[in-house]
Symmetry: C2
Amino acid sequence: MARELLEALDQAGVRLTGPRRELAALIARRQGHFTAADLLADAEQRSLGIGRATVFRLLELLADQNLVERVDLPDGRHAYVPCEPSHHHHLVCVSCGAISEVDDCGIDAVTAEAARRSGFEIQSHRLELFGRCPRCQNVESRQ
Amino acid sequence: MARELLEALDQAGVRLTGPRRELAALIARRQGHFTAADLLADAEQRSLGIGRATVFRLLELLADQNLVERVDLPDGRHAYVPCEPSHHHHLVCVSCGAISEVDDCGIDAVTAEAARRSGFEIQSHRLELFGRCPRCQNVESRQ
DNA sequence: ACCAGAGTTGAGACTAAGTCTCAATAGGAG
DNA sequence: CTCCTATTGAGACTTAGTCTCAACTCTGGT
Ligand SMILES: [Zn+2]
Ligand SMILES: [Zn+2]
Ligand SMILES: [Zn+2]
Ligand SMILES: [Zn+2]
């Protein structure tokens, strides 16, 4: 999965540098969503000597390329989720952070209707669903 | 409109203090979305002597009461929109910030389907639509 | 009208998120 | 291998948001 990120970056015409390879690997082994701070902590823990700015720069690059999506958690934090470049949405587990992808069947109809009623010309949308994943539901019910 | 905010706050059992009345009035006269910084700047410009913390505290209070909704702008900033307490979503003009409310007809079906497929128990969702309002479309096309 | 006490306030310290600058470094095309 | 440019890390800086605490002010009860 780190490979996919790197290939896509290569495709995008940027250099495949050491720090980028290392960060891609760190992102790949992450489960669910993570924040820039999480990634930075991962890097520091392994003494990779990667600077704060480099982390933010790579995340921005990946987000531009739709290799990673920025999610706004209900508590206001910004997190990232590695994902397919195609348009879709995320279901986020509020207790463990697990992610499930959702294709947006049906949402387009909603946006089209909203556009018709309001006269707005809709350019983009963001849909985020929050809840508890099957595993967390089980854990909870067994306690 | 400031009156409505204050009545709702009263209903919620919090004190109607001077700073809250003043901030409610400032919020009421705002068009479209605004950030905490905007509101703070409004207050400072009028030398109301309202502290930064008070602004954040009131916004949190209003958000808890669903009198204001927190919107995450595409550029990552957090903004607020005064709105009806009932569940709904916002259409945000990316060039002037104008807001249009959208009731979520159809979205519930999407979330139900996503829940069924993923096994998640969905607790909440957030939908934000971004585009250009009718006025901004006209301005653009006349230039 | 008065009072008491809990809720609220502003100042300012503090933390965390994110950006910017710049000299040094390292990809990678040729 | 060489050169040029993209990229890097350090650290200063800016901004968002939180926290603490002594001072203040609502408000309900008298
Ligand atoms: Zn979970
Ligand atoms: Zn969509
Ligand atoms: Zn507009
Ligand atoms: Zn909804």
